[in-house]
Amino acid sequence: MLGFLAFIPRAVAQGIPLLFGCTGEIVTEKSGNLNLGLPGVMYVGAISGVIGSFFYENSVGTGDVNTALAILIPLLCSMAGSLVMGLIYSFLVVTLRANQNVTGLAMTTFGVGFGNFFGGSLIKLYKADIPSISLSKTSACFRMQLPFADDLGVIGQLIFSYGFLAYTAIIIAIVVAYVLKKTRVGLNLRAVGENPATADAAGINVSKYKYISTCIGCVIAGLGGLYYVMDYACGIWSNDAFGDRGWLAIALVIFTLWKSDLGIFASILFGGLYILHLYIPTGMEHMELKELYKMIPYVVTMIVLIFTSMRNRREDQPPQSLGLNYFREER
């Protein structure tokens, strides 16, 4: 039982970056843009925040950091970085009508390279005399818990023990679900994703919707990267540490059938599956089994994907125009 209680907070911590990525990708995909650049965007979001706080911490030196600034600077840098990625993608795909898969994969190449390059050589480039990027002060601000978390015992540990970004992720997911389901903007956005020609005929500005939703999606996803570095990894950047979480987030989108409120639980489930192997006693002789446990999220996603296409229920399908670009004169 104790092991299980320790397991939940770690599953949540694993799940939050996935939740950010998943919510962002849902917003993007609802407009019909399949952004396979998500892993790149999350890397850029992470490293932009790291660069911002790196300069801030260096300028402060050994003194104390201002909590508000230490949070705001990386947050804004991260959002700006992923916004630029979103703009690049939208410009290429919406304005120049480039192929979405190709653009997305190029973004992933670029973004992961960008993250690993600056993460690996930031210190060398700016001749700082520290051995590695370790933004412990900024991280401490990001990991600040609610003051009464410790007093509430088990419940406090389960529910109140996370940094503020974790709660932000859940709030964003709920807001996105509400906006998509209940508001006029959400309805228009879904119309754009399902059938842009019809949406266009109804007087919806298709390009505007695609641009804005892709950019918002990228900014949300970028926060996932920021959460990973600042909160989960305690402000320590190491290259490729973020791993394939970006792709896992895309898997999560399918798994949740494009519903971000479902994403909250699904991401924690996936986060749990991601680290499950640490908690299942395999013994030293059978270390190989843990790799099979890590396979579960992908297999489950594959099965969900196949089942939803088999049952062919309308509300479970991907947005109809997903992956296709819209050109008004081509009908």
Binding site: L34, L36, I88, F91, L92, T95, L96, R97, A98, N99, N101, V102, T103, L105, A106, M107, T108, T109, F110, G111, V112, G113, F114, G115, N116, F117, G120, S121, K124, L125, N239, D244, W247, L248, I250, A251, I254, M287, E288, L289, E291, L292, K294, M295, Y298, V299, T301, M302, L305, I306, S309, M310, N312, P318, L322, G323, F327, E329, E330
Partner: protein, 367 residues
């Protein structure tokens, strides 16, 4: 009703007819030049290194010595072969981005034969078995998404993507199962003493085999798509599924058959990587080339011969990046940034090839 005078929009886009090839090539060349200039500016701003020096070291990284040139060519042929495999699927608008997983499974098939039965069989039989198991496993990894697409219309981009990671985990599982020594997490060089299952060297060069295979497959794919009945069916399914139903092509059969071929060729690459080049199996043996190949194939407009050029450009940048890393004490990933920027420009320039921009004429405002 509408009192505001409707203005003609400032920019009007129309789809172009076919553009002469030389004109399209000029636009693409311009895009690459522009990309290189942007790369130079970014290099200068972020690292403070003279961009010209960076470019020269890229060239020396790819072609500095005979050995480097051979490795560059070998890498080109590997990337080219994967791109060709994917092209078969792309021509019927089946977005197979599962090259990574198909290559890995092919490699697993080869490695399994080398490890489990390597010492008991004569070399020709063993290599034949390796070939069969690589092709089968690669084809299987293409077959699963193809069947789902054909029968239930499952989104193939997403399913092939998932298959990649399932393959990665399967390979990791076997890596630990077969690790030598125990606990190292690596298989190490397989059959280092007996060389059982190592693909033969051709004319005394270990680099030549992938190059020959890539050449053969380039010609094969070109002929297969252009001059055979299968290829014709692929193209019709890609251009218009409704037409193909109308003319009596069995779309399901075409999708499944093509993906088996596509996966099998990827599996063959796995065999070359494990049996011919690395002589070991790791989960990163494909090194993202399954994804890069999508870009290569698309940039070449799915033309097998143009793919030689595009895969060369990508490998050239990648090999050069390694050189930059050592020479300027930078990080290997700098090459990815440059490649990414060049890709953005090439992707963007297709717009100017496919669409025509007409600006609003001055006199016609009050239409």
């Amino acid at each position: 009703m509408n009192t505001k005078a409707q203005k003609e929009p400032l920019i009007h886009l129309t789809k172009r007819g076919a553009m002469p090839v030389y004109k399209a090539m000029i636009i693409r060349a311009l895009a690459v030049v522009l990309a290189l200039i942007v790369c130079a500016v970014i290099t200068g701003l972020t690292t403070g290194i003279d961009p010209i020096a960076v470019y020269t070291s890229i060239i020396s990284g790819a072609f500095g010595t005979a050995r480097k040139t051979w490795i560059t060519l070998q890498d080109v042929s590997i990337l080219l072969t994967i791109s060709l495999a994917l092209t078969l699927a792309f021509r019927m608008r089946f977005w197979n981005i599962g090259g990574e997983g198909q290559v890995l499974m092919g490699g697993l098939g080869a490695a399994a034969c080398m490890i489990c039965i390597g010492d008991r069989l004569p070399a020709p039989v063993l290599i034949l078995l390796m070939l069969i198991s690589s092709l089968t496993l690669g084809a299987l990894w293409g077959l699963i998404p193809a069947v789902c697409k054909a029968v239930w219309n499952t989104n193939e981009t997403l399913s092939t993507l998932m298959m990649n990671y399932i393959a990665t985990q399967i390979v990791l599982f076997f890596t630990i199962l077969w690790e030598v020594p125990k606990g190292s997490g690596k298989i190490g060089i397989i059959n280092q003493d007996s060389h059982a299952g190592w693909l033969p060297q051709i004319f005394g060069s270990k680099y030549l085999l992938p190059i020959i295979i890539a050449t053969a497959i380039t010609v094969f794919v070109y002929i297969y798509i252009k001059y055979t009945k299968h290829g014709y069916e692929i193209r019709v399914v890609g251009e218009s599924p409704r037409t193909s139903i109308y003319v009596g092509i069995n779309v399901k059969k075409v999708i499944i058959r093509t993906m088996i071929v596509s996966g099998a060729i990827c599996g063959l690459v796995g065999l070359i990587l494990v049996g011919g080049i690395n002589h070991t199996l790791t989960a990163t043996i494909s090194d993202g080339r399954g994804f890069t190949a999508v870009l290569v194939s698309w940039m070449a407009q799915f033309n097998p011969f143009a793919m030689i050029l595009t895969s060369f450009v990508i490998v050239f940048m990648d090999r050069g990046a390694g050189e930059i890393a050592t020479q300027f004490d930078l990080n290997q990933s700098f090459g990815d940034i440059l490649t990414g920027i060049i890709l953005f420009f090439i992707i963007g320039c297709e717009f100017f090839i496919n669409y025509q921009i007409r600006l609003r004429k001055k006199g016609h405002r009050e239409a």
